[in-house]
Each structure stands twice: as C-alpha cells, then as structure tokens.
Symmetry: C2
Subunit: 263 residues, 2 copies
C-alpha cells in the first residue's frame, strides 16, 4: 500500500500568482517546493486509484488503463478540475466515486464522457475496491465532502481533506482505530480564531491528538503556512514547530505501508 | 496587431486520451501537432488581451501585469477553465469581459478572486479597449457565446468560435466589412448533416464564402478533422482539401497584421 502525494497545495497553489512572500519567492526558483492542486495516487496490490483530481494533466500522467478509478473528496475545482478534460477520452470507462452532490463541478454530470459518476458513496458505509476497503468519513467543509479511511489488511491510512476540525460522526468512526498514516488538511498557520473551511495548524494538531495516528502528513498547504514554517525553521527555536511524527508533505512524496513493517 | 493561437483544439484536445486514430497517434509523438484548449493572445499597440482561457497554466505563461484583461467567448470549461486557478492570485485585478451568463463556470462568479466579472458585454455593442475596438458578435452555440470583431485602425480580425453557422444578426453586422483575418470554428470534417454546436468544414467554408475574408485560419479543431486532413494531404488529389486563403491553425501560430501591409 503506497500513497504518492501528487499535489499538496491549496486552491491558490504555491507559488501564489503575483505573491512576493518568502514561501512563494522560494517556490518560484525551487520547483521542488511548488505545490500543485490536490491529487494523490493510491497503489494497493494490483489496483491504482487516484484520490482527487485537481491536476489538469492527468491524461499525460496516466496512460490509458493505469487507473482503476478515482475517489473524489468533493467537487471543488481544486479537487476535480482535472476531470473537465479527462472525461473526453475514448474507449474507456473510469469510475468516479464521490459524495452525492447533484451539482457536481460545472457540466461534469451532464456530460460525463468516459467518467462514470453513477455510484455515489454514503457516509460511513464501507465499500470494497479489490483488496482495499474504503470508508467515507464526512468532513466539515463548505460542500458535501468525504475523507477516506483506506484499509489494506491491517494497514490503515486516513486521508482527511478538506476539513476544519472533525464531525462527531467521523471522530466516533475512527475512535479506537490504529491509523498508521494520517494525511490531513492543514491549510493555514496557527490562527487565533477557527478558520471557516480548513484547518489551521492548531486545529490540525488537535485532530492529531484525538486520533493518535502513528504518523501524520500535513497537506492542502497554503503559502502563508509555508512562510510560517520557514520562519520557525530559521529561528533555531528549542521547541520545534511540529511535534514528533508530524511532517509537512511535498509534491511527489511517497508514503509506503508494508504489511510486514510497523510504520 | 498580432494574434497568437495558444490552443487550437476542441474540448477533447489532440491527442484524445486513449485514441489510436492516425491524428492522435502522430500528435503523441510530435508535440508540434498537439492541440490544447482554446486560448489566444491578442497584442495590439501597448495592450495585451487574452481571448479565452482554456489553458490551465496561465500563471506560468503570463507574468503578473502582462495581461490587460481577458475576453471570454463563453463559459464552457474548455474556454474558461484556466480561470479556476488564476483567480487565486493576489494584488491584481484582471477584467474578464464576457457575455452575460449568470451561471458562469463552476463557482467563478461566487468566488472571483482577482478576476473582475463586473462588465458584461452586449451583442453588437462595441467597446473600446485602448486602441482596440471590440464588437461582440452573437454566435450559435449551446450557451451564450460571443465571437469578436477586433478593429485596430483599418485592420480587422474576426474571431468566431464556438459556433455552428452564423446568426442573421452577426452576418448583417459583418456584411460589407473587409475582414483581414478570420479565425473560425472548424471542429469537424465535412459532415452530411449539420452538426449541433460546431462547424464542420462544409459549414465553415460556407461562412468563408459569405464573409469573404482575405485570409481564414481554422481553429477549435477536433482529432477527426485532423485525421481527415491527413488523408487528403496524403491522397495527392488534384483538388486541394482547402480553398486558397484558408489554413488550419496550429498551437503557437502567430498572425500579424501590420498597419502598412495588406494581409
Ligand atoms: Mn481544496
Ligand atoms: Mn474544498
Ligand atoms: Mn469549445
Ligand atoms: Mn463551447
Ligand atoms: Zn505567497
Ligand atoms: Zn484521435
């Protein structure tokens, strides 16, 4: 079971167009620090699923047949815009599993092309995709949104974005579950007031304390959080900015969970 | 006055994902034959306007301040999807002039970011953009769509996509006008029945005969028309596939109209 983060940015991406902040300036000269829109590849046994489709070059990245399907967290453009072109392929059927959201994105549902939106997922109702068991977890966001608990044998990943905090339902569903890897929305640097649609670092670490995953990778990063991290790295402070076991994902990072190793 | 065609494909682009037709196979190995989604750069005196925004890497292509604004023909994804990311820039205001279409694309109108959609254009009511005079021409398509007559001194370009045929209004507006360059929707190879939303070659050439431009560049090309062109080039037929003065655009083609030269 391996998850590769293909896009770890928020909707604005990093660098933000016309932004001169230190994080955007650095990402402009160092491509490894750029953050694309939300997209991750999940490889599990023989199956390959995309989680979210914010990247707009999916037809270039994935040869026909390379994907078994796409799990969509929600229909915001930064998670689904890559489907606007991919749908016009030919001779294929690609299932897109997503929360019920009749509006979808633009005219995707009206003109699905090769995409099959016929199966919608229900909150907390697991589905079996080959050897992978997927449980949709309702998130707190500005439109219907699921995170996903991904189970392969005894290995478990939770992919939770976009969200601000966690609903009681989702907390209850994960209570007592050993999560090997948590991939978590952390769009903003620590904020005094709770942001509206996304975690800041304070709320993200609250979730980490609640769920106690073995390892946490923060994603959906905005430029202000990257700039905040740069300041705290540079400060030489005795207290590290992030607690042990919590890291910030980068585009291209691969997280492998082997059945025979503890993660 | 110069128009650079940045994307000359239809919504599926060329190559079409998973298509094995001769045109798609060739475009896969020869990048110069690929066709991206609709987008063109109009340079006129000191001003630079984008016509359509189907390309999804606009923030990479255009440094902040490089564009005076964007003329949108309509809100189909293949013409407007590049705005879904560009809007999240900072410290800029980019006017987007378009036909009235309350729905727009996805949540662009609800969350415009740096884009200013406040000015909508009216059919046949010219607007002056610096030295450029722009007349919106209603087209025949599946949602509110304008072509544009672009006048710079005595030089005139008409950019007409997406359309099938021309409405009497638009024909009347262009009647008697000398068009130096016509850029025209020709999505399909010659079809027996009139297609629903786009010209085939037969209808495109009907328009050429009606408007009698000095030069015509076909755009919004689908793979089947490219494949048809390959067959007719290869046939060595005495009758060329396209009449004199009519060419098929390629991504990157630049069409210059100098004030002191007849085109
Ligand atoms: Mn998002
Ligand atoms: Mn979202
Ligand atoms: Mn189109
Ligand atoms: Mn269209
Ligand atoms: Zn920035
Ligand atoms: Zn083809």
């Amino acid at each position: 079971m391996r998850l590769t983060l293909l896009g770890t940015g928020n909707a604005a991406q990093v660098p933000v167009y016309n932004c001169g902040c230190p994080a955007c300036a650095l990402a402009r000269v160092n491509k490894h620090l750029r953050r694309g829109p939300c997209c991750a590849l999940l490889e599990c046994g023989a199956s390959r699923w995309l989680i979210d489709a914010g990247l707009t070059d999916l037809a270039e990245r994935f040869p026909p047949g390379a994907l078994d399907g796409i799990l969509l967290t929600h229909y915001h453009a930064d998670h689904a815009q890559g489907l606007l072109h991919l749908r016009w392929g030919t001779g294929l059927r690609i299932p897109v599993l997503a929360p019920a959201d009749p509006e979808g994105l633009a005219d995707l549902h009206k003109h699905p092309g090769i995409l099959d939106f016929s199966t919608t997922l229900d909150a907390l109702q697991p589905v079996q995709l080959g050897d992978l068991r997927v449980t949709p977890l309702p998130l707190r966001h500005s439109r219907p949104t699921f995170g996903y608990l991904l189970e392969y044998g005894a290995r478990r990943m939770a992919y939770l974005t976009d969200t601000v905090g966690l609903s009681p339902d989702t907390q209850a569903a994960l209570h007592g579950t050993t999560i090997n890897v948590l991939v978590l929305d952390c769009t903003h640097p620590p904020a005094e007031e709770q942001p509206r649609n996304h975690n800041d670092l304070t709320r993200a670490l609250d979730i980490v304390r609640t769920l106690r995953p073995r390892r946490t990778v923060l994603t959906h990063i905005g430029h202000a959080f990257d700039a905040w991290l740069m300041r705290h790295h540079a400060s030489g402070a005795a207290i590290p900015a992030l607690p042990p076991g919590v890291t910030v994902g980068l585009d291209g990072d691969s997280i492998a969970l082997h059945p025979d190793t503890a993660c």
